[in-house]
Amino acid sequence: MTMKASSRQADGVTIVDLSGRITLGEGSVVLRDTMRDLSAQGHKKILLNLVNVSYIDSSGVGELVSAFTSVRNAGGELKLLNLTQKVHDLLQITKLHKVFDIQDDEAVAIGAFDQ
């Protein structure tokens, strides 16, 4: 299953709806390109909606980390929304669940960004 990404706006937050697999190759590239485009457009509050991300490998984990650090280094915030159990388990094993702000309600997640 190929990876797809689309973005929308809500209360100043850019929500990126991702679907498919974030793995080495196409999936990681789609996420990287999406984040690069958002950065170029000046988006600094980003919520990655992973509800339809069925699978992620270590390369995909690395892309999430890269997205997090690049947004943070630009003075922004990145949060994760609606992780599947598989993805949550992977972030827990790698202890990245302590790094990311992981949310399970979109409205709450939007409200959690710094105003």
Partner: protein, 149 residues
């Protein structure tokens, strides 16, 4: 179930990674693992094959990756072998260390170790073979999950 062995010789490409992963999931299902375990086994084989293609063979089209599956009623043993310069797993940084937590790479072997019951590395001449064992009903003995050879 009788013991069965399947082996593939694959090119050093991303397509081979997907092939190895898919084969692992199918073999794991036939070996009696549940859906979640099949996913973890497939991910471990995927990570091992990524390492073999990218870091071992460095995508060299003249080098190949061998992936094999040995299934018995007790365990599924998977081996991924490359023809690269060799890997010393003892030198790999700990991806959970605070200074490594935000690195973009370096989690593949860590995940293999997390998902498998036993992991062994064989240093070949040339190449590296990572051998991964998953017991059908979990490890039946205590001790370390890993044994480097």
């Amino acid at each position: 179930m009788n013991a069965t062995r399947v082996s593939y010789t694959l090119e050093s490409t991303l397509a081979s990674v997907n092939k190895a992963e898919q084969s692992a999931e199918e073999v794991a299902a036939r070996s009696g693992f549940d859906t979640d375990e099949c996913g973890r086994i497939a991910l471990a084989v995927r990570e091992a094959t990524v390492n073999a293609v990218l870091h071992g063979n460095r995508c060299d089209p003249t080098k190949h990756v061998t992936v094999s599956f040995d299934s018995t009623p007790e365990a599924l043993t998977m081996a991924v072998r490359d023809e690269g310069p060799g890997l010393n797993p003892a030198t790999l940084p700990d991806p959970l260390a605070p200074e490594n937590l935000l690195k973009e790479s370096g989690r593949g072997i860590f995940l293999i170790r997390a998902f498998m019951d036993e992991v062994r590395f064989r240093i070949l001449s040339p190449g590296t073979e990572v051998i991964m064992v998953k017991f059908v009903r979990g490890p039946d003995r205590g001790g370390s999950k890993e044994d480097n050879q």
